[in-house]
């Protein structure tokens, strides 16, 4: 009898419930025990016929802006007098705002984004949020990451997408997080998403001077990882290590082959995007990438700090896009940015802003239908000093799942959400 991944979940091996993610090695050892032969349940895939197949190579890069990005200072309603009267010390100078339309423009630091917009590669979704906004960083981030505003949910929305998508399931690099912590967005029931900061250190270092055969050390650590008998925490570590062993050679080769004429910046965000470009160039089948940029919690002296962060975002993303264009993959990749909330309309007494509600999301890519989706924020009809939302973030997720990843959003999200057609016709 062959044991399937779903059997394991059904039998209570869903460690997500314990706050841990199920070790994928359990799945693999189960296959080994049952004598190999991968069992694929028929009709369980999410792909919606021919349309889905055409999208199977599409790649999504999620950019998380942590801390609560000031949406109004990013996409600025520059003709609205209430904006400038609410932000006497922190509003960008009107003549420096990078105008996109007759009434909205980008923060002066976002010259690269302006170019992407002008070339039709950037969609701005205005006023994205969720009902009954929560102003706690942690709960609100959790809501955006799990896409379940009403209940506590251990798995993330992209984790559930990975769980339900059987395509290329054995590939340990189907999704990659850049950084030290796997975000809740990528928590799954059955697989462990690798997190990588640097390919050079992403390998098991041995000391060849003392032992003629470094492979003896590698073999032994593989074996020790299989003898994890102290329960779920140790099994979890074991799974992470075994997955890491499986992916590090692939990554090393990919990075070794990559060449680019594009010059990335000298900061962790830019370096992370470069690593993503390296993996995309190598065609390792990775469809989901996740990268974070933190520090957006600008309660004080916002103007300088926000400008620095947006510069880093702008330079990183536009350099990355440039690199994708040069390798002929700009049409295959979409970037999506979000933050746990925007910030309050009125600045506070510290030349900063406190926690707010809805904010714009960016979608960037060669096959994205550029433009502004939705209306300018209404700065006069507020709810407790905060913006009212226009679009539920789950509408954006549902549309990304349907139109970009080629899957059925109802398998990932709870309920149905209005559809936004943001891709160019050629991709469906």
């Amino acid at each position: 009898m062959s044991i399937t991944r779903r059997d394991l979940v059904k039998n209570g091996l869903s460690i997500a419930a314990l706050g841990l993610v199920a070790p994928s090695f359990l799945v693999k050892s189960a296959y080994a025990v049952s004598g190999g032969g991968r069992h694929r349940e028929s009709g369980a895939g999410l792909l919606t016929g021919g349309q889905g197949d055409a999208l199977k190579k599409n790649i999504l890069v999620v950019v998380q802006l942590s801390g609560g990005n000031d949406g109004l200072g990013t996409v600025v309603p520059y003709t609205d007098p209430t904006y400038f009267s609410s932000r006497p010390t922190i509003a960008p100078k009107p003549d420096e705002i990078l105008k996109l339309t007759g009434s909205v423009g980008l923060h002066p630091a976002m010259k690269g984004f302006k170019g992407l917009y002008d070339n039709g590669h950037m969609a701005i979704m205005q006023g994205v949020g969720y009902p009954n906004p929560n102003r706690s960083h942690f709960r609100s981030m959790e809501i955006w990451q799990t896409a379940r505003p009403d209940v506590k949910e251990p798995t993330g929305w992209l984790g559930r997408y990975l769980d339900d998508d059987d395509d290329d399931e054995e590939n340990t690099l189907r999704a990659i997080n850049i950084g030290n912590f796997v975000p809740r967005t990528l928590w799954t029931e059955t697989t462990l998403v690798p997190s990588i900061t640097n390919v050079e250190s992403y390998q098991f270092r041995t000391d060849g001077r003392f032992l003629g055969d470094p492979s003896a050390q590698i073999d032994t650590i593989h074996h020790l990882c299989e003898h994890a008998e102290h329960g779920p925490a140790e099994e979890y570590v074991s799974a992470a290590a075994i997955d890491a062993f499986a992916s590090s050679d692939l990554l090393k080769t990919a990075v070794g082959r990559y060449q680019t004429s594009v010059q990335y910046g000298n900061n962790p965000f830019a370096e992370g995007l470069k690593l993503i470009a390296q993996v995309i160039a190598a065609d390792l089948g990775t469809r989901i990438f996740y990268i974070s940029l933190g520090g957006f919690d600008t309660h004080s002296t916002q103007a300088a700090r926000h400008g620095e962060l947006l510069t880093m975002l702008d330079e990183g993303v536009s350099t990355f896009y440039n690199d994708l264009e040069k390798m002929g993959k700009a049409d295959q990749v979409a970037m999506m940015s979000f933050s746990e909330f925007g910030r309050r309309v009125h600045e506070n007494g510290s030349a900063g802003t406190d926690h707010g509600t809805s904010l714009p999301m960016f979608l960037i890519g060669g096959n994205i239908k550029g433009g502004i989706y939705g209306n300018n924020p209404d700065l006069t009809t507020l709810d407790q000093g905060d913006l009212r939302m226009q679009t539920d973030f789950r509408s954006v997720y549902a549309s990304v799942i349907r139109h970009w990843l080629g899957a059925d959003p109802s398998k990932v999200l709870d309920g149905s959400f209005s559809d936004i057609q943001f891709t160019l016709a050629k991709t469906g």
Partner: protein, 449 residues
């Protein structure tokens, strides 16, 4: 499952400290489990002068500031090294462990505070109150801590233009938990803390009456001309606090998912003790839950626990700045930079500690500390010799006992014996003993707590 007394003492020292070498384990075992808890909790009775002399020596030998323009900002590298040295050297491990807990609870980050001297001031405040017998009084001190006031922007919270950052996190993350107050309570308590600020030049706490909002406020149902201390008093009258704190400490010391009945039992102990963290922690360590199968090896070592326990197990105790900063940088890559938690929620812990990248950093750190190139003083070969172990089997069993108290499956041991094989000469033995320690420290069994 029956466990040896040594295994339970090792469990206690991992949770209530940073592990230890064989002689530490033996010294605590000689006291019996309850005696060991008593010694850990009543750390005031333990002389730790050697650590204090080490710290003084480090301050004498290194520059007090790393910032020419702002000498008052101090030397961040030195402060990080000193704290790591304390963890390595301390004979009061629970005091240092609770200082780390408090750093992840009442968080502040040098990335925002900028000033290493203020971060040290906060660290000293937490160490002094590591097992406070009055958490309410301690919270009032934290509300006056300059690093905290700067980190959560209360230094710019003024009448007419309040800043809600500190007021919100005080309730959400530090005392009550989300769902136990309203958005209006956040706004009203921010008003109560207006004027609680820091003198720019001296870095001292000051209350500025002129910036304080003296109008009536209504906070958690209480109306009056409330100030910050009143807000703290009202918060600690909420029944939600004792459960919040009991759950957080149970998750830190025992297991990740304590049930509601267990939380309620310890919340009651904490309430009856008059909000004594000392009594709460003592009762947790003595409880059957702490010694249960459910608790044993159920947590994942934090980078501080992994790094410090690996070095302590090999008896490395150094004041060398370069070695300590190197170790702290490895910890940062493992996901825990001292004095710089990722955000105001501290480190989320458990499964978030481990992924491919952080796993390799742990394994490669273990490799670096046993490598002969390293100028640290760790030498597993000398350690084995000093213990009188010479054959491959003796050496394997000795390190299994020291590092994991021999609590690993039989095939784990046989794989190590196979790896070591025979010692053909001294050079061969040297490489294999180092490789052996590296492998144990890289294995999943050494990552759990």
């Amino acid at each position: 499952m029956a466990r040896t007394e040594k295994q339970m003492i090792a469990h206690l020292l991992r949770r209530a400290g940073f592990g230890g070498n064989n002689s530490d384990l033996e010294a605590y075992r000689a006291l019996g489990f309850e005696g060991a808890v008593d010694r850990l909790v009543n750390y005031g009775a333990v002389d730790d002068g050697a650590t204090e002399r080490g710290v003084a020596e480090m301050r004498k030998q290194n520059p007090a500031s790393a910032n020419e323009k702002r000498p008052e900002y101090g030397n961040p590298g030195l402060e990080i090294a000193i704290w790591l040295y304390r963890m390595l050297s301390t004979r009061r491990p629970l005091q240092e462990k609770m200082t780390l807990f408090l750093h992840g609870h009442f968080t502040s980050s040098i990335e925002d505070v900028k000033n290493a001297n203020l971060m040290y001031g906060q660290n000293a405040l937490y160490r002094q109150n590591a097992l406070t017998t009055d958490f309410k009084a301690f919270t009032k001190q934290v509300a006056r801590d300059p690093a905290m006031l700067i980190y959560l922007n209360n230094n710019t919270n003024r009448k007419g233009s309040p800043n809600e950052n500190w007021a919100r996190e005080l309730m959400e993350l530090f005392t009550l938990g989300i769902g136990n107050y309203t958005e209006n309570d956040v706004k009203e308590s921010a008003r109560a803390f207006t004027g609680w600020t820091v003198v720019r030049d001296t870095g001292q706490f000051v209350f500025r009456q002129a910036q304080h909002d003296s109008d009536p406020k209504t906070f958690l149902g209480v109306t009056g001309n409330l100030n910050g201390d009143d807000v703290v008093d009202i918060i600690f009258n909420q029944p939600a606090h004792t459960k919040f704190m009991a759950r957080k400490l149970l998750r830190f010391f025992v297991y990740d998912n304590p049930d509601d009945a267990t939380v309620a039992r310890f919340a009651d102990i904490y309430a009856r003790s008059g909000l004594s963290i000392k009594e709460l922690v003592r009762q947790i360590l003595l409880s059957p839950e702490f010694r249960s199968d459910q608790a044993y090896y159920s947590l994942i070592k934090s980078p501080a626990e992994f790094t410090v326990s690996a070095l302590r197990a090999l008896s490395l105790n150094t004041t060398n700045l370069k070695t300590l900063i190197g170790a702290s940088q490895a910890m940062a890559l493992m996901g825990q930079q001292l004095y710089a938690p990722p955000n105001v929620g501290g480190w989320p812990g458990m499964s978030t500690w481990i992924n491919g990248s952080t796993y390799y950093t742990r394994a490669n750190f273990a490799q670096s500390i046993v490598s002969i190139d390293n100028d640290s003083t760790v030498d597993p070969v000398e350690i084995a010799q000093a213990a009188g172990k010479s054959t491959p089997q003796e050496v394997v069993d000795y390190f299994l006992d020291t590092l994991v108290q021999s609590d690993t499956p039989a095939n784990y041991r046989s794989d190590l014996l196979k790896f070591v094989g025979n010692f053909s000469n001294a050079k061969d033995a040297d490489g294999k003993i180092r490789g052996l320690v590296h492998l144990i420290m890289s294995s999943p069994a050494y990552q759990v707590n």
